[in-house]
Symmetry: C2
Subunit: 424 residues, 2 copies
């Protein structure tokens, strides 16, 4: 099979999800967007929903809207997300940011696991996960130790390494289900079982896996999870995050943040806090409704497409990307920073190159009239290509490969400054 | 002077802020909205701003928008709010919810005040403020005691009572600058000085005062503050909250929540947290941009109107309301649940009546073709009338008085169920 634009076009025509592209807002100027793993695109339905939210719900119904769906939305949206992450409807709520939810859940877990002094994560984890743990250790009086499982290949963490670091003193294991740089996908079932054998609880960060790969929290025996909705779930920039606590742990855990949205009877305005039953006690303040509401039409799209079909297309596309990279880019100093085994990767692929930053700039801001191709850069040398099967086409992927080829082969990147922008 | 509709009309014609009403979205059906102290109305400019945000910033620029204003917005919006609350530009940031900010600030203060075991608040405070403190005490090992200053009249807290409860063992005093039920306005300068004489820090909840009364944090010697933007600031339902730390305390305080947005170099993706200088270290996760951005045009409106003019109109309107209530409503079993002295009240007035809940329902859902009048109910017997001078007219106030009169005199409220809605 020849890896070319014609093949990409054929794969697009055969794509059972091809009509979903029309349900996504299309910018005026052509662009190849491969950063849905960082900020998902805008669903057309969200535009209509936000108009109605502004004019009718906020503008006209005003305070009455709290009695007409807003108040319950952290819970109703959690129930809507639940099947996408293999959770029960009463096990998921929307609240705060991912970092804040990791904080609440990790604190709860450490309190529950009193006596155990070790927390395990890995060197590939997104820094905020580690920072939250470091902050907790500091504010709890430095009685715990954070131990990071190491990666031998810079992409994956082996089961043996996890077996080495998780022991009988381990209170909590916090890992990203899909690793943010390499796209490595942990075997959630295997790791959860490994932790449970030692009596540790596992907290999964689903930021790079919700909406990207099938997640089966309950089948895999996950205890706790949190994640964002602004990547593959297309919930909008900085969309509120979700958190999950497996049913059997809900009554045993206590949030460190007691606040009115988590009270059992908030409109009684009692002076003494009384936590609500179930997941509601993990809610904190009044949720940001413009952002929270935007998640709903986005989840509807993912539910309509179906996680199985999305995963099938994602794997085909990441494979196509890897095949093309192997064929065209490896000779130019690129290496593939993502596991090539399908069951070991999420929905983005890192291509590594020593000039990655400048190549990225050249892709994003072409100075020769080319179509902008938008991946993102991650230190030190990763170009992350995010595949969002809901709207990414095979032609998009091939376009990126061609641009990478011409920018690198023609040393076009040399025209770009190596000085980093505030946000990379 | 005869308190009637003609007088209200005259006062409206003389109102120097009368043109601001046109800058607020107007629903199709007539309505008298007196709940801006709970959810402020929608500025017209916000509609345009949200359209641009959706189509251009999210829809078209996508991830690039983080480099085009989004990333800095928690800080730039804080600087914009600062003059409205008497703070320096580098003393305020936007982040999370009010409850979450109270948690971060109270935790920081208690850590800084190690050895002191008492926390002071009052029985009139909004419950979430007390819940946050109760949760902190619990999670910090029950070494602190929460002592609540009592109210003799159910409306105000006396200086003598504060002097009684604040002592040399007091670490922190947390009070609402304007009390949520009675509208009582604390003398921030006097209370801050009182606390400082005992070595206590003061944390002010500005939720009912920002945008409602002139707030002068620095002039009054405030240490810490937090508040919401969805009431008098019109930032939208559940709009993100702000927090303030006086400059000289910033380096001494440490947030309990360490996360990537508060790191000194977040895009280096270092494995070890290194807090940013100044207020940035109090930021946590990626902010919800649809909600956060909506605050900007709303603040612009308040800045344009000016806090002095807003306060002047607010005091005239609350006085008009109190005068009308005294004339027409006291004979019908109402009492005034708000201090009548101007310097002791914020911008809402509570009218108390034993049938308050049903009277409120009759105002909101008229069954006789009257215009809906929307205040809110607060347990056990308060009808809160929110004056938002940016868009409330004297005629609105008089309309509410007339409706209260006819509903109560005609016992129309008896047609309404006493069963409470989920959100009151």
């Amino acid at each position: 099979m020849i890896l070319n634009r014609a093949l990409a076009g054929q794969l697009d025509r055969e794509d059972p999800l091809k009509d979903f592209g029309q349900k996504i807002f299309s910018e005026d100027k052509p662009m190849v967007y491969l950063d849905g793993n960082s900020l998902g695109k805008l669903p057309v339905a969200t535009i209509r929903q936000q108009e109605e939210l502004l004019h009718h719900k906020w503008g006209t119904r005003l305070i009455r809207s709290w009695n007409e769906g807003w108040y319950e939305m952290p819970i109703s949206l959690g129930a809507k997300l639940a099947p996408l992450i293999g959770a029960g409807e009463a096990e998921v709520v929307y609240s705060d940011s991912t970092s804040m939810n990791l904080y609440k859940l990790a604190f709860s877990a450490l309190q529950h696991q009193k006596g155990r002094k070790k927390i395990v994560s890995d060197t590939l984890n997104f820094p905020t996960d580690l920072y939250v743990l470091q902050g907790l250790i500091n504010s709890m009086g430095n009685q715990h130790e954070l131990v990071l499982a190491r990666s031998e290949d810079g992409m994956t963490v082996s089961t043996q390494e996890l077996e080495r670091v998780i022991d009988d003193d381990t209170a909590l294991v916090l890992l990203s289900h899909v690793v943010f740089k390499s796209g490595f996908l942990y075997d959630m079932e295997k790791v959860s079982a490994l932790a449970h054998r030692k009596g540790a609880l596992v907290l999964w960060d689903l930021s790079h896996s919700a909406g990207a790969v099938p997640v089966e929290l309950n089948r895999c025996g996950a205890d706790l999870a949190a994640g964002c909705s602004y990547k593959y779930l297309n919930g909008g920039p900085g969309a509120p995050a979700f958190l999950f606590v497996t049913e059997k742990l809900q009554e045993k855990l206590e949030s460190p943040v007691w606040a009115w949205y988590g009270d059992s009877d908030p409109f009684a305005f009692n002076l003494k806090y009384s936590p609500a039953k179930g997941m509601k006690k993990f809610l904190v303040g009044t949720p940001p409704m413009l952002s929270l509401s935007a998640i709903e039409p986005a989840l509807d799209l993912i539910l309509e497409a179906g996680m199985d079909r999305l995963r099938e297309k994602s794997l085909k596309q990441t494979q196509f990307l890897i095949d093309c990279a192997q064929e065209y880019l490896l000779p130019l100093g690129f290496s593939i920073g993502t596991p090539v085994k399908p069951e070991m990767r999420g929905s983005h692929v890192s291509l590594r190159h020593k000039e990655a930053y400048r190549i990225c700039k050249a892709l994003i801001d072409p100075d020769d009239g080319s179509i902008p191709v938008i991946p993102d850069f991650r230190e030190p040398d990763n170009i992350r290509i995010g595949i969002t099967p809901l709207y990414t086409s095979f032609t998009d992927v091939f376009e990126a490969i061609e641009r990478l080829l011409s920018i690198t082969k023609g040393r076009i990147y040399e025209r770009y400054s190596a000085e980093k922008a505030a946000v990379t």
